[in-house]
């Protein structure tokens, strides 16, 4: 399938606008990109997709000069190029529009479009000319606004149009859009797509990064799939279906998933009483209809593509970002957690996805990090009982085999795997009944990974309810007793362990954007 796609790509490539070949990029010796390639024709919309960490943004940053490259070649418009900075790339005809709009909100639309290359007359700024040109430019994209108003008065979509107009006014031949739709509503997305089609009609090429697969089919001509720093597949959009795309992104053939690749033992204990149930969750724009259930002694997997709302769902249950709608029951009681402290008091623990930002307190010792959540229980008259604290820390450091020079070592000096174990210990010493693990094995070495996986199973066997979010299919397929699949913010499948094959999970993911009515018919999805 991949070979055929590459051939097709070659057939159509008469004279490509951009050719990136065999790009290599290492960070501290670790390959972020290895033999990544990307070709874009003039006037084509190229989708660039891949999982978190696949190397999409690194590849784009190498192209625009935000990162240097360690190998490979870049030809743009027939000439080899090496842009030194995004500004240089912009002058050379490559403009980037980031997810977070990087314009000046307080200044007028005109100023934002002409920032850095204002028209002058007699040494003064020529406002009438710039305003007229800005208005004209935006009219090309069917945007009629007062360009003298500050940018911040307009909607995100309009601001994005202004960013695009600015990009185009640099005589861009290639516009890169990094997840431009993530903060737009459906109507605004439609406007953006019109603009992209207009750009294409004018011969401008677009690289479109998005996690919403349905969107790709609406506007893109071709798709490039990346995985683990490599380009895995290039194909005309119309010739791949969503299932093929997903399996290329996740790197799984539809039929085969290696068995016993993880530290999970398959045995599923009998499920106990319900510890969590959530229904009809709606959280911001990311989660529209989330449903979940976890019972004691069970590992429940929650999976979905990037941006499907997994982390948002977990944070809502834990009270970190309260949901806009829906009902949550913890330990059988209806709750409305508004602060993590509330959920913790009910016996919930949450290991976040981003250890550094949301997990460790870097300058504190391993001891303090482990006991942070249970500190109030170790206190008499406001004073921390350090004897008990040390005893607990010693017990859990031993049980989880946390490698540190001592419990007093600062946690930031530990390896990723040991940091993760310390964070697990933080929750285990709180003796929770429900533990939410968001990507518990991401970014840690293979040995620690297997250790953590078998520990999770052991804990479940002892009666702990575990909600495990993972984008690694093996982990979900082997480890989970029950699997919920999220797609575009909806729970689209609820599979028992026996039915939760890689094929079934990917099929469920491919039902992205399915109408709400279909979301409930999980049995059919499972066999799709």
């Amino acid at each position: 399938m991949i070979g055929r796609a590459l051939e097709l790509a070659k057939m159509t490539s008469a004279k490509p606008l951009l050719v990136m070949r065999d790009i290599e990029k290492r960070f501290q010796g670790v390959h972020a990109l290895a033999k990544a390639s990307l070709e874009v024709e003039p006037g084509e919309i190229m989708a660039l997709v891949g999982q978190n960490g696949a190397g999409k943004s690194t590849l784009i940053k190498v192209l625009t000069g935000a990162h240097g490259r360690d190998g490979g070649s870049i030809d743009f418009d027939g000439k080899p190029v090496a842009f030194g900075s995004p500004q240089e790339a912009q002058r050379g005809g490559v403009s980037t529009i980031y997810q977070e709009i990087n314009l000046v909100p307080f200044r007028s639309v005109t100023e934002n479009i002409f920032l850095g290359r204002e028209h002058r007359r007699f040494g003064l700024l020529n406002w009438p000319r710039m305003n007229a040109e800005a208005a004209e430019l935006l009219r090309r994209f069917a945007v009629e606004i007062d360009v003298r108003r500050p940018l911040m008065e307009f909607s995100t979509a309009i601001q994005q149009m202004v960013a695009i107009a600015r990009a185009v006014s640099f005589k861009a031949q290639l516009v890169i859009m990094d997840e431009p739709t993530s903060s737009l509503d459906d109507r605004e997305v439609g406007v953006l797509f019109d603009v992209m089609r207009r750009l294409r009609a004018e011969g401008v090429a677009v690289i479109f990064v998005s996690h919403r697969l349905d969107e790709l089919y609406q506007v893109c001509d071709r798709v490039t799939v990346m995985r683990d720093g490599r380009t895995i597949m290039v194909s005309p959009m119309a010739e791949v279906d969503k299932l093929q795309l997903i399996s290329a992104m996740l790197g799984r053939d539809l039929e085969t998933v290696r068995s016993h690749a993880t530290g999970f033992s398959a045995a599923a204990g009998a499920a106990g009483e319900e510890v969590l149930s959530a229904e009809g969750l709606r959280i911001g724009r990311r989660v529209r209809d989330g449903r979940l259930e976890v019972r004691a002694g069970q590992i429940v997997g929650l999976t979905g593509l990037l941006g499907s709302g997994r982390t948002e769902t977990a944070r809502a249950i834990f009270g970190a970002d309260p949901p806009d709608a829906g009902s949550i029951r913890l330990m059988g009681k209806p709750v409305d957690p508004r602060e993590p402290a509330t959920a913790i008091a009910l016996g919930v623990g949450y290991c976040s996805e981003d250890r550094k930002a949301d997990g460790i307190v870097p300058d504190m010792s391993v001891r303090e990090n482990i006991t942070l959540a249970i500190l109030p229980r170790l206190v008499a008259m406001g004073v921390v009982d350090e004897t008990r604290q040390r005893a607990i820390v010693a017990k859990f450091m031993k049980r989880l085999a946390i490698k540190a020079s001592s419990s007093e070592q600062k946690i930031r000096e530990l390896s990723g795997g040991n940091q993760q174990k310390a964070l697990l210990a933080r929750w285990l010493c709180a003796d929770p009944r429900l533990l939410i693990l968001d990507e518990p094995t991401r970014g840690i070495d293979v040995g620690a990974k297997a250790e953590i996986q078998s520990l999770i199973r052991e804990l479940a066997n002892q009666g702990l309810g575990v909600l495990m979010i993972s984008s690694e299919l093996e982990e979900i397929v082997e480890g989970a007793d029950r699997v919920f699949v999220l797609s575009d913010g909806r729970t689209v499948a609820d599979l028992p362990h026996e039915q939760a094959t890689a094929a079934a999970i990917m099929a469920a993911m491919a039902h992205e954007g399915a109408p709400l009515e279909d979301a409930g018919t999980t049995g059919e999805n499972a066999n799709g």
Binding site: P340, Y350, V361, D363, E368
Partner: protein, 330 residues
């Protein structure tokens, strides 16, 4: 194994830098003391010690609260204004008809009410910052400006002159020859240092400053901790305000605590508490304040004008921040 030795080496250098960072101010203080014993005439006297300690006490008292605020990653610009409010309220109470009629009760209230008021206003700072997610520098700027206005309004802008030995004991009294305010200062430093090290509240302060998002997800009541920290900073400022008006035997809401916020911040900076939060050294702030004070005294005692001393003070702060940056990079 090469990796391990690299890590060890890096740990060793970072430990050395940490040592320097932690003890730079103390080393400088000792060097400066030695210099003075050798050069400055009449330096080795009880009187010199008392003069210096008396002058530094209010700065240290305020910087105790400031250290806690900075340890949460915040800052408190309002301390000088809160000193003025406390300093204005106290004479109003003991000079009032009620205070004159019941001197003991009046003096007691003249201690408690102004300090409590300053604490409440500090708590308001914290509420304002956490409720509206205002940056601390902006949130406390409001009280910095408004607070001095409040002080002037309650006194109608009048200078209050008084003579009240019982009340003024806080600024003029001595216990075994040691100025009472110095004892207050030492008690507050010891209490805060102990609280940071041993109490739940202290550990929460460092967790909030060290990683606010992680702390919240671990169940730390982040907003409550912040509100308390600003309230404590207000309490410290209130006590310092009483000390100042007692020493002066007068209260001028225009002048009490003027520029104190910057002196306290300077003491904290020189003392080695990083402004990014997550670490707190109250004893460091004490040493920082002593160093700045002694340097100024040294220059004055040796005939260097006060204006030039300010430049040196600036240089010390720059040096302290530089050594912190070095420490962070390691």
């Amino acid at each position: 194994m090469a990796d391990a030795s690299v890590v060890n080496e890096r740990r060793a250098t970072s430990a050395a830098l940490n040592f320097l960072r932690r003890y730079a101010a103390l080393t400088a203080l000792i060097v400066l003391l030695a210099f003075n014993f050798a050069v400055t005439p009449h330096f080795a006297s009880f009187q010199t010690l008392n003069v210096n300690l008396t002058q530094v006490a209010t700065i240290v008292i305020v910087s105790v609260g400031m250290t806690l605020v900075i340890a949460t990653g915040g800052i408190d610009l309002s301390v000088g204004s809160l000193m003025a409010i406390a300093g204005a309220l106290a004479p109003l109470i003991f000079l009032s008809p009620f205070g004159v009629a019941h001197p003991a009760l009046g003096d007691a209230l003249a201690f408690v009410v102004p300090v409590a008021a300053a604490g409440l206003l500090g708590g308001f700072n914290g509420w304002f910052i956490t409720r509206f997610k205002v940056q601390p520098i902006v949130g406390t700027l409001v009280m910095f400006i408004a607070g001095r206005g409040i002080g002037q309004v309650v006194t109608n802008g009048n200078l209050q002159v008084f003579h009240n030995p019982a009340f003024q004991f806080i600024g003029l009294g001595r216990v075994f020859g040691v100025p009472f305010q110095v004892i207050v200062m030492l008690v507050l430093v010891a209490l805060a240092a102990w609280a940071i090290r041993r109490t739940l509240f202290g550990r929460y302060i460092l967790a909030v400053g060290g990683n606010e998002r992680a702390a919240r997800l671990a169940g730390v009541p982040v907003n409550r901790v912040k509100r308390w920290v600003y309230a404590i900073s207000g309490l410290c400022a209130g006590i310092a305000g009483l000390v100042v008006v007692s020493i002066n035997s007068s209260s001028d809401a225009n002048l009490v605590g003027l520029g104190m916020e910057l002196d306290a911040i300077a003491a904290v900076a020189v003392g080695g508490t990083p402004f990014t939060g997550g670490q707190a050294s109250v004893v460091g702030s004490l040493i920082g304040a002593l160093l700045i004070q002694l340097l100024r005294y040294t220059l004055l005692a040796n005939g260097v004008p006060d204006a030039a001393a300010l430049v040196v003070k600036g240089a010390i702060i720059a040096g302290a921040v530089w050594s912190q940056q070095r420490g962070k990079r390691a």
